[in-house]
Symmetry: C2
Subunit: 139 residues, 2 copies
């Protein structure tokens, strides 16, 4: 699984806990343990899709744009990782019936798998992820 997906979830969860102020990419990056530029790249996707708002300049940063239950993991998956389930088949032998057709057979099977995964991911909104993180909290 593409780690942009989990970075996006991590970022949104963090923003969910800071509803009143802008969070900088540096702050998020430190929580996630990655480079700030990577956070900005991932968050620019979320911004394009209207899940967050960003602001440049002093006091700028990122903030959640919607209610926590308006964003689910399937939304995030589609933005960051659509097609990630698809295996990257090397070019196989077109002379052979299997080599010639396996690619398209697998493609349709994995399309179905992704749709099926979607049904599962839709069950988790950011609100629920936040709840899970709080429950997991270690004292």
């Amino acid at each position: 699984m593409n780690s942009d997906f989990t970075l996006a979830i991590h970022s949104l969860t963090l923003l969910a806990l800071q509803p009143d102020r802008m969070s900088t990419s540096e702050y998020i990056a430190e929580s996630a343990g990655v480079h700030p530029v990577r956070i900005r790249k991932v968050l620019s996707l979320l911004k394009k899709n209207g899940f967050i708002i960003s602001k440049e300049g002093t006091g700028g940063g990122f903030i959640f744009a919607l209610d926590l239950d308006q964003v689910n993991l399937w939304n995030i998956y589609q933005i960051t990782s659509e097609g990630a389930l698809q295996p990257k088949c090397t070019e196989s032998n077109g002379q052979c019936i299997v080599g010639a057709n396996m690619k398209s057979v697998l493609f349709s099977i994995f399309m179905g798998a992704e749709a099926h995964l979607g049904e599962y991911l839709k069950e988790y909104t950011i609100k629920e992820v936040v709840e899970l993180v709080k429950q997991t909290e270690t004292y």
Copy 2:
């Protein structure tokens, strides 16, 4: 998605179409467009799990050990790719409630996702994959 998974499917489909004779790793490799050593590695997993039989020496190779409908894609996934859905989280910041707990929250979510995927993959046996390949055949 791990390409060992698709290589295993490809190999088994090919073996399914050659039920009476041994197929060599070189033959399979040529159909799949990869190196024979890679085929032997993947097939050695399938062998350990009893799906195929191998034979060394002249006239040796690989052959299907079961009925075509006794092997489904979930079986193959488990052997070749279990855990592949799990994202590889970098070590995040334990000082932060999100950094500290996100990893285990994501872990359980992805465990569920994999189980859910399993339900879908169980619906495809090699027999059905063979049918699909035949249907797809381009004349």
